[in-house]
């Protein structure tokens, strides 16, 4: 884990409210694992917004280029989106546990809802490098306006299927429909599922995984002040029978085996 001040290489809008930020950091790029995240603060030590914002690492390119894919949702991300090339941000990371990679014999199915794509791109990068298995990626968006990074995903060679809720691109429906279809095909090997997206989507994925006794990992978000296990802000209720009442997204996660989480209250 390091704290670094870095200059942006680029920071561009690539979809409705969706931005892609890139900067160079040899240290972060060489230590980061898919599923880990960064705590980002605007370069000038502003008091408003006060806190850093957590962002999952979207990918590593050219050895040292770190990418963050983010939604502009509030004051913090709005200010972040106004930054230009050469502007400075402060970054702490890589933080959290990251995804547990599939065994060589296992097939990976990645399921992303909206900007839940963010950490899955990095996972797809790493899994595709290891050529033994083609990664299956299901992505769902509200409309075609939010669909981003498709060409880059195709360039990685992943087996990609899309849904939009209004049918403006790909199959009309929600992303878990694709998972349903896939899981109803009785394949020879049991896939491992990796999911990131809105809580209702993750809950559906978790239920399917439980029903079919599949291993599944979900990447969660949480309100956090520090990302370092100190503020104890990012609590999520642990499933019944777990050893702790709460898990903390920043330290115990952000990736959890879906069975560890109490989905009734998430």
């Amino acid at each position: 884990m390091v704290e670094e001040t870095v200059a942006l290489k680029s920071n561009q809008q690539i979809g409705t409210n969706i931005w892609l930020m890139e900067f160079r950091s040899t240290l972060l790029a060489s230590h980061a694992k898919p599923g880990q995240f960064l705590m980002v603060h605007l370069g000038e030590r502003t008091k408003d917004p006060l806190l850093r914002r957590p962002f999952s690492i979207h990918g590593i390119q050219d050895g040292d280029k770190v990418m963050i894919l983010y939604n502009v949702v509030g004051a913090g991300t709005s200010l972040l989106s106004a930054l230009k090339e050469h502007d400075i941000i402060s970054v702490i990371g890589p933080l959290g546990n990251g995804f547990t990679l599939p065994r060589p014999s296992e097939k990976a199915i990645l399921v992303g809802g909206g900007t839940g794509l963010a950490p899955l791109f990095f996972l797809a990068q790493v899994l595709q490098k290891d050529q033994r298995n083609t990664v299956t990626l299901f992505l769902g968006f509200p409309t075609s306006q939010e669909v981003v990074r498709i060409q880059q995903l195709k360039d990685l060679g992943v087996n990609l299927s899309l849904t939009t809720e209004d049918g403006s691109l790909g199959i009309k429906g929600v992303v878990t429909d694709l998972l349903d279809q896939r899981l109803s095909n009785k394949g020879t090997t049991k896939p491992v599922i990796y999911a990131c997206g809105p809580p209702p989507m993750l809950k559906t994925v978790a239920q399917k995984a439980t029903t079919l006794s599949l291993r599944s990992y979900v990447s969660l978000e949480g309100y956090m002040a520090c990302g370092l296990g100190i503020c104890l802000g990012c609590a999520v209720k642990a499933a019944h029978g777990e050893t702790k009442p709460y898990y903390y997204v920043c330290q115990d996660g952000p990736v959890f085996p879906s069975g560890m989480i109490d989905w009734e209250v998430l």
Binding site: R45, L51, S90, G222, I230, L232, A235, P245
Partner: protein, 307 residues
């Protein structure tokens, strides 16, 4: 080669090499931020508030950001005093700064029991009492909002320990000086001012409070002027040292509290934003004193010019 200024202060018999302390609940159990700097270089560290039994904490969302501030309702989540002593304290022996435990009880007796447990343990330099929690014995009223119960808790802790006792006051009272005088009379060696200020935030889209607990404690730069004012009032009301905290983000903020009369300061919310804040304040105070040709930090403390 210039002689470095002397930053050491005395807090009720506890000697600190500088006046910079990390606030309870913002520095974990003491070692979490060691990747960023060596806590041995600080005046002291105060660890996460401890209770007799582990406390799971409140349901999420537990925090919300407000302009220049942080609202939290963590619910005093902690591993309990026994686990702290067994699992965390051994790692703290490597830290050369005094370790202060912050304690929290549901009843007066629990405070006394915590003091007894800590008294037997080496490696804990002092006790800070959190009295801004609900008092179940008194039907939900906080210990810290009533001078008599505040004094009772303080007296029980003081009589069960030989370690210096610091009482952390709540700002959520009509007159903080009555509470300050009460805990001073009950034997407190120092007072920390101030704990977080009660506050709320609402999501207008969902019409729900931003905290599951509905209300929480506001901290961060938003509360600094209020904290300074309260320190100013308490310093005038008591003889024992006052430790100032509330929204300190850099050494200039720390200087404001020292000038108002705080003998030491605590860094809280800033640790979340910049984990190196506390050590940067130590360096900032050193440089400031050197620049201003101040040989001893005590020359600044209480140096507010009002005429």
């Amino acid at each position: 080669m210039a002689v470095l200024p002397d930053l050491s202060v005395d807090i009720g018999g506890l000697k600190l090499k500088n006046p910079v302390i990390t606030a309870s609940g913002t520095f974990g159990y003491g070692t979490e931020l060691t990747p960023f700097f060596d806590p041995s270089l600080l005046g002291a560290i105060i660890v996460k508030g401890l209770s007799l039994k582990p406390i799971p904490g409140n349901p999420p969302p537990r925090i919300a950001e407000t302009p220049c501030g942080l609202l939290n309702a963590i619910g005093l989540a902690n591993i309990g005093i026994q686990a702290f002593i067994e699992e965390k304290l051994p790692m703290l022996t490597k830290i050369e700064a005094p370790v202060i435990t912050n304690i929290y009880g549901h009843t007066v007796k629990e405070y006394a029991d915590l003091a007894k447990k800590i008294e037997k343990v080496e490696g804990i330099a002092a006790i800070e009492i959190n009295i801004s929690c609900p008092n179940v014995e008194k039907g939900g009223m906080a210990f810290g909002t009533d001078p008599d119960t505040a004094a009772m808790v303080t007296g029980q802790v003081v009589s069960n320990t030989t370690k210096p006792v610091v009482v952390k006051l709540t700002p959520n009272v009509t007159d903080i000086t009555t509470i300050a005088r009460a805990v001073e009379s009950a034997g407190a060696q120092a007072i920390s001012v101030t704990n977080a200020i009660l506050g709320m935030a609402v999501d207008v889209t969902t019409r729900r409070p931003k905290l599951a607990n509905i209300v929480g404690g506001l901290s961060g730069p938003a509360i600094k002027p209020i904290a300074l004012y309260l320190v100013h009032k308490v310093v005038a009301a008591v003889r024992i040292p006052v430790i100032g905290l509330g929204g300190i983000m850099d050494y200039r903020d720390a200087l404001e509290f020292l000038l108002v009369g705080a003998r030491a300061i605590q860094v809280g919310t800033a640790n979340f934003v910049n984990p190196k804040t506390a050590i940067e304040i130590v360096h900032g105070l050193t440089d400031f004193c050197s620049r201003e040709k101040i040989s001893n930090i005590n020359q600044i403390i209480g140096g507010l010019k009002t005429i």
